[in-house]
């Protein structure tokens, strides 16, 4: 059975290491904060200017001055710090954030990612996505393997890029791939329960290798 959104988030949470500073994107990546493993302490960065982002507030305790990058009300923690937008992206661009987990429309086997615009459709803007994929130490994409029957894991992206050669790992509902950006391409390292290698091959347009240590 393919993984659910929550199971994909739980799998992504295994990439967290103690002491990491992490930026989580909107959608499935936000769910990752519900699955932080026991004994692992991470600080979540919100690119609007907050490190140490806490959970949603209790009803009645919402503060209009305290939001995350998705413009949702959040809370502060004893570890929280605030800073301006230029400092926030200095932190991101400067390689101080250990991990970004974000969604995508397409990922290519060379590490390219497209997640900000579809030509001919309304363009809302890239927000901080281009800075994040270009700046953080490790980029993990969490996305459905296919949309409307079309593979989202491709030889080449055909949508405008958010970043070129930037993705390190892709977690889909069918499995987990690592990505060697220096030419080694995609390697399948895990299959979701009851998903076969043939299933995933038939649903993937990108070329990929299969790890000797493939697990399920």
């Amino acid at each position: 059975m393919p993984w659910t959104r929550d199971q994909m988030a739980a799998r992504a949470a295994k990439e967290l290491k103690d002491g990491f500073y992490v930026n989580l994107g909107i959608g499935i990546p936000t769910l990752v904060s519900n699955y932080i493993p026991e004994g692992i302490n991470v600080q979540l960065q919100s690119e609007n200017g907050m490190l140490g982002t806490g959970p949603f507030p209790f009803e009645g305790e919402e503060d209009a001055d305290l939001i995350n990058a998705g413009k949702q009300t959040v809370t502060e923690l004893p570890t929280t710090s605030y800073f301006n937008s230029a400092d926030s992206f200095a932190m991101i661009r400067g390689g101080h954030i250990d991990l970004a987990i974000l969604g995508a429309m397409q990922v290519a086997q060379n590490g390219d990612i497209a997640n900000w615009m579809i030509p001919g459709k309304l363009v809302k803007g890239m927000g901080g996505a281009m800075d994040l994929v270009g700046g953080v130490k490790k980029v993990v994409v969490v996305m459905e393997h296919a949309a409307k029957g079309e593979s989202k894991l491709l030889q080449r992206c055909n949508l405008p890029l958010t970043g070129a050669g930037v993705v390190d790992m892709v977690i889909t509902d069918l499995g987990v791939f690592t990505l060697d950006k220096s030419g080694g391409g995609l390697t399948l390292i895990e299959l979701a329960p009851d998903v076969t290698l043939d299933d995933i091959k038939s649903k993937t347009e990108a070329s990929f290798k299969v790890a000797n240590t493939l697990t399920q």
Partner: protein
């Protein structure tokens, strides 16, 4: 020199001209200089280029300047929450220049710091880099981006003294401090107006040199775009509110 004006209209008097560039602080509707935005609407100044991370939502924040068709061009990173924006954009009445959010913030910071251009890895290999100089440093490719300055910056702060020294509150800080540095004239609205010496100098975020005019907005309306909450469990203590500013 007195920096404190009676209201937003008088603080903006003599500063507004058709075709000018205005930077407006805020992220979404958090930390926006709403009183000053409303006074700009009342002034009727038009053909504005507005630099702001977002463009408000319909009928709120910078959205009011769209409704009144005073904006010619936006320089932003994300404008997703605004139907009026999309209608005017699709009708060819509004220009948009999208900047990656960190590039936008750094362009403003650089502008305020007298730096005309800088190189960043953000956007290399994407359409953002098209037509711009790309140069290699230490084996990595970087794209050149230009510093940004404005004729006028409008910012919102939590507390300010009459010298223009400003302190912000939580994530309402966002683009306000860099924008305060990048306006030829900066007008600040502050929720709490205090006397020099009332703010610990170690805590000042924007030194008064960057602020030419200011107004007191003791009852500023604040908006929440996405009200997200959790249910209280019995054992949960109230959320911490942190130290006083």
């Amino acid at each position: 020199m007195n920096k404190v004006y009676a209201d937003a209209k008088s603080a903006l008097a003599g500063l507004l001209k058709d075709g000018m560039t205005i930077m407006a602080g805020g992220f979404g509707l958090c930390g926006i200089p709403e009183s000053l935005i409303l006074a700009i609407r009342e002034s009727g100044v038009k053909n504005l280029t507005v630099v702001s991370n977002n463009c408000g939502i319909d009928a709120t924040g910078l959205g009011v300047l769209l409704d009144s068709r005073q904006i010619k061009k936006m320089i932003s990173s994300y404008v997703g929450e605004n139907k009026t924006f999309m209608q005017q954009f699709l009708a060819g009445e509004l220009e948009i220049e999208f900047n990656p959010q960190g590039t936008l913030a750094e362009r403003i910071r650089a502008g305020g710091a007298g730096i005309p251009a800088f190189f960043t890895r953000t956007g290399v290999g994407t359409q953002i880099a098209e037509g711009k100089e790309v140069r290699e440093f230490n084996g990595e490719r970087y794209v050149m981006e230009r510093g940004l300055v404005a004729d006028l910056s409008i910012v919102h702060a939590y507390r300010g003294d009459t010298e223009g020294n400003l302190v912000y509150r939580k994530t309402a800080r966002n683009f306000n401090p860099p924008m305060a540095t990048a306006g030829k004239v900066t007008v600040a609205e502050v929720e709490h107006l205090v006397q020099p010496g009332d703010i610990n100098p170690d805590h000042i975020v924007t030194p008064g040199i960057y602020v030419q005019r200011m107004i007191h907005v003791p009852n500023a309306t604040k908006h929440i775009e996405q009200r997200t909450v959790r249910k209280r469990q019995k054992a949960d203590a109230p959320a911490g509110t942190g130290g006083d500013i």
